[in-house]
């Protein structure tokens, strides 16, 4: 894990953290106020309320988990946080990085790999878009390939990989951009128990070593009974912080959860 320590220097904070007048240690990196979202489906003239009244502060280095039944708006919320969908109502503040760079990195529920790019080329997409020199971005990608245990598969195309391998590539691709907030939409769903365990440990380690904010969305909440989580009807998402759910995900901040 040494390379990770080098790649993600500790104490990274978005440049604007002090804008809230908060100390660096407890900097609020993300603030949701009363976020709501209604989807309009043109074809059927339907309106689907996906989210309503979500308020939440996320601090630097927090590990949050979002639980709720299928269709309750978890993916929608993550996409809003990522800036990929407009919130219908409410405000979203993400602390900006000093260089104005995007702070969030997302692992999509459907992986969203570029079919025409190999594993390596998928992983370097972000750095390539940011014009990181080729040699450097490929060297970084090699480390990530080791992290996700896909050595030997670098030059495979996504359709030549198993579902779990694709998921790991999606994970590495998000990590390659070194985002301050990692957003995982069901990050470990299609992995076998063993690989999932490995990646759980890795995720926690990445999080602990970098003090990055992780904003996870786990599978069906029922699968993690020990989790303190609330359930609500579809149409309202639950945000729960991480008490000691399991050994792998022990959280140091042991945090409150705010919702509603």
């Amino acid at each position: 894990m040494r390379h990770l320590r080098q790649r993600y220097p500790l104490g990274l904070v978005g440049g604007g953290a002090s804008a809230y007048g908060l100390s660096l240690i407890m900097a609020t990196i993300l603030r949701l106020k009363d976020i709501g979202k209604v989807w309009h489906i043109e074809r059927t003239k339907e309106e689907v309320m996906a989210l309503g009244g979500i308020s939440l502060d996320v601090e630097q280095g927090e590990f949050l988990i979002l639980v709720g039944p299928s269709g309750c708006g978890k993916s929608t919320l993550l996409q809003i946080v990522a800036g990929l969908e407009e919130p219908g109502s409410g405000t979203l503040e993400v602390t900006r990085a000093a260089d104005g760079q995007k702070q969030t990195g997302m692992v999509f529920q459907e992986f969203a790999l570029f079919l025409w790019r190999t594993v390596l080329q998928n992983i370097v997409f972000g750095p390539e878009a940011r014009s990181v020199p080729k040699a450097q971005r490929e060297a970084d990608a090699q480390k990530l390939i080791d992290l996700i245990h896909l050595r030997g598969f670098e030059h495979r195309y996504p359709h030549e990989l198993s579902g779990g391998m694709r998921q790991r590539v999606a994970l590495a691709r998000a990590l390659a951009n070194d985002p301050a907030i990692l957003l995982f939409d069901e990050p470990l769903a299609s992995l076998d128990a063993q690989t999932r365990k490995v990646l759980q440990v890795e995720l926690v380690r990445i999080w602990q070593e970098t003090k990055r904010s992780c904003f996870l969305r786990l599978g069906p909440a029922g699968s993690r009974k020990s989790c303190r989580s609330g359930f609500q009807d579809p149409g309202a998402s639950q945000v729960a912080a991480r008490p000691n759910c399991s050994n792998t995900f022990r959280s140091e901040s042991g945090k409150r959860w705010t919702v509603h």
Partner: protein
């Protein structure tokens, strides 16, 4: 790609030729209308040796290639723009919808009036035919790109230009190749039609002239030459597609 050897793929056409040859030799059909394969082959060789077939092919290929290359390039560029930019779509779509259903061969007389009886009117007719097919398929390809890929690119920090070059273009490539394949077929149809008029060179001309002189073996030779051009063009496009889209199992 490794393929299981399938003998029927060879046996079937060979059997077809043998039966054809046999039936003709037994004098079951009028050889003036349906010549035997062997005699057609002999005619083809004669036509090749005296240079008429090669020159006809060169003249036709020249028109086909010009029309195909310009038409495809225009079609790809326009198609990408129409598929990606709303404003371009709004501007171009009604024009395409209105002009696409016109048979391109019906435009040839007009083009002869406008561009003269020379090569230009022929090339432009082919160009237009190819353009539409490539354009429409390229637009389909752009629209078929999974929106989550565009989101992913955006999430990874790509700007609009990078999304266009790194996601939209490669994402549309498979459909672009569908358009190119259809366009190649269309180009061969159109070159034949344009060579019925105002020329003394080309495979279409040779075929038509042979028909008028009732030289049926020559008609067959030209038809076969057209077929070979069709097969070659589809092989070349397949090869190109494999080279350009290695992620696709063609």
């Amino acid at each position: 790609m490794w393929r299981r050897y399938r003998p029927l793929r060879i046996i079937s056409p060979v059997a077809f030729l043998i039966i054809w040859e046999g039936v003709v030799r037994l004098d079951e059909v009028n050889q003036l209308i349906i010549p035997a394969p062997a005699s057609v082959l002999r005619t083809m060789i004669d036509l090749t040796i005296d240079g008429r077939l090669p020159w006809a092919i060169i003249a036709s290929l020249n028109r086909v290639l010009q029309g195909f290359i310009y038409g495809s390039l225009l079609g790809i560029v326009l198609g990408l723009l129409v598929g990606w930019f709303r404003a371009v779509e709004d501007a171009v779509d009604p024009l395409v919808a209105a002009t696409y259903p016109i048979p391109k061969s019906a435009l040839f007389p007009l083009f002869m009036l406008w561009f003269g009886l020379g090569e230009t009117s022929k090339v432009i007719t082919i160009l237009i035919g190819v353009l539409f097919l490539v354009l429409i398929n390229t637009v389909t390809g752009v629209k078929a790109i999974d929106p989550v890929l565009l989101k992913a690119a955006r999430d990874l920090g790509a700007n609009q230009r990078q999304i266009f070059t790194k996601v939209v273009i490669p994402g549309a490539l498979p459909n672009i190749f569908t358009g190119l394949r259809l366009g190649a077929g269309m180009a061969l149809i159109l070159v034949f039609i344009t060579e019925l008029e105002a020329t003394k060179a080309g495979l279409g001309f040779l075929l038509w002239e042979s028909y008028q002189l009732l030289l049926v073996k020559q008609v067959f030779s030209c038809t076969i030459a057209f077929g070979i051009l069709g097969i070659l063009s589809s092989w070349m496009l397949q090869w190109l597609e494999r080279a350009v889209c290695p992620w696709k199992r063609v």
